[in-house]
Symmetry: C2
Amino acid sequence: MKANLEDIARASGVSKMTVSRVLRGGSGFSEETRDRVLGIAEKLGYVPNRLAAAFGADQAGTLVGMCVPRLTSGLFGHVLDGVDRALGRLGYQLMIGANNHSADEEEAWIRQVISWRPAGLILSGRHHSPGTVDLLRNAALPVVEIWDLTTSPIDMSVGFSHFDCGVEMGQFLLRRGRRRAGYIGALARADVMGASRREGFESALARAGHPLIDREILHDAPGFYAGYYGLETLLSRCPDLDVVYFHNDEMAIGGLAYAQARGLRVPDDLGIAGWGGMEAASILPRRLTTTIVPTTLIGKAAAEALVARLRGEKGQDVTVVATRLVPGETG
Amino acid sequence: MKANLEDIARASGVSKMTVSRVLRGGSGFSEETRDRVLGIAEKLGYVPNRLAAAFGADQAGTLVGMCVPRLTSGLFGHVLDGVDRALGRLGYQLMIGANNHSADEEEAWIRQVISWRPAGLILSGRHHSPGTVDLLRNAALPVVEIWDLTTSPIDMSVGFSHFDCGVEMGQFLLRRGRRRAGYIGALARADVMGASRREGFESALARAGHPLIDREILHDAPGFYAGYYGLETLLSRCPDLDVVYFHNDEMAIGGLAYAQARGLRVPDDLGIAGWGGMEAASILPRRLTTTIVPTTLIGKAAAEALVARLRGEKGQDVTVVATRLVPGETG
DNA sequence: TGCGTCAGATTTACCGGTAACGTAGCCTGC
DNA sequence: GCAGGCTACGTTACCGGTAAATCTGACGCA
């Protein structure tokens, strides 16, 4: 890790500027010089210093920051994967962080990451602290907000409407004859997007004259256990619900497990609906009624929108991706 | 993003060196100067430039790189979470990448990331390309290998033995009276660690005189579908197996779903065992027989070992974490 | 009075690239 | 025969911090 352009330049009898040009594959040197420089760089085990390059050129480097709500979410794993593949192919490096559904943690993370002068950022959700918005606006940094749709993005956005997901599921369950619906969520107010789905759901029910009967919002992580115990709690208060909409598929599957343990027939005694489209949901124990979100696609689209912007190409600012309600056998 | 130390220095009537010291919380300035500088920095919206700092000081910065096999693995999501929390608390930034179980992709990623002069790296597994080992050794970079135990780490390691996991599960299933075992894996030769578990499993069975009857290795991602269809394939070849050990819990749950669909009683007609300890496995549809891996702990321990090294503290080079076989109701 | 000491601050050099510009030699066309 | 252009380079300045060395004035003290 010690050889630098100067060393290569000395060893090959040219100036370091020529070496720089050769290594970056530019032009302005002979075939012969190219081969010699490349050979010597290889021999010396030259490792470029992007720190110096990004700093010296004082231009956007190849660093992209991405902040997700939780690293342990299966859905975001797929989004990350989509982003990573798209960026990796284009030579960008990904810096990640988690904000735990907190706008303040997000701001703190952005303050850290921005000091590395990233070429752009990918954020989750459209709810940010005022400090964040200030910071980003006057840093003039390309930003893609993903996951939740916003009509007025800071810069660009790729997502869908969580509210509409809730509405759609509400309408679907009504069509299936459900009249006494409950909702089980998690993370309380912290998860703004989950709350949007709930609001959409409630709004569709209310409009049809069959308002939500009861809801249970847990303060745990939205996993299987939360779904299991959430349903237990909710049913102890309202035993006569005929369907429950869950915050996500993990919780719905937990709820399904509880229903089975309790001897309830699904969907006859109780309908169960989730959200997200985790792989397990399409198999076990029966096909879950849920909304499939194109996670990898969102990641890919976000990365591509960002890179297009960085290269000065004109792309669209708002990309709406389609979610898909799959009827399943539990709703 | 325009104010720099010089600007603050001018505005507060001191030199930029003094500003630097104040902002880094050192000493060698008066209380009065400190307050003035801090106030002006705030007013100008100063954002430090870590690129310049890391470059100029030519010392380990606060960047840590981490490479995982797949970003979509639930288990690695938890490892990442453990790493991120531990590092975030200590002011480090995390750069991630996926190697898709390929040593060559890993090397390519390392070549990229190393040019950012990270303070250290966290890699998954102990199998690396020769080029990788060279690169790391002469970069003298702190490296933590996680997930798979190695007795001769490049530098440090945090993990457990996959082989032993397989042995332990083999012995357990034998004790439960299983005699005709099958194995279902995925990713073919690419996943060295999954293969280690299979080898351990086979070795335990063979030693007891009840060797593995058959195995099915899929070339898909190790998910629910692969488990579902893998079991279908395996049973079509060997209908009389009395237990199947799966590559991981996702696949085992897929297998469980197939067994149910097929009308097989689990565990009476067929035992099913997984590996990994995903949350769903402990609930649905019955408690899965599996091995729980302390994912978050591994991430945390890896991050802490790395930081200890960076701070010059003496930590242990090899950290062995305990996995736990949970009997469950399916094996 | 002279001198050491110390807090508080400044000066200088440098990290490793890249952009912008300069230049020598050669070819080409009119 | 020479302006003009092209090729293949070299020179210089600079990015924004940090380490190390240096400076300065006030104070204590023999």
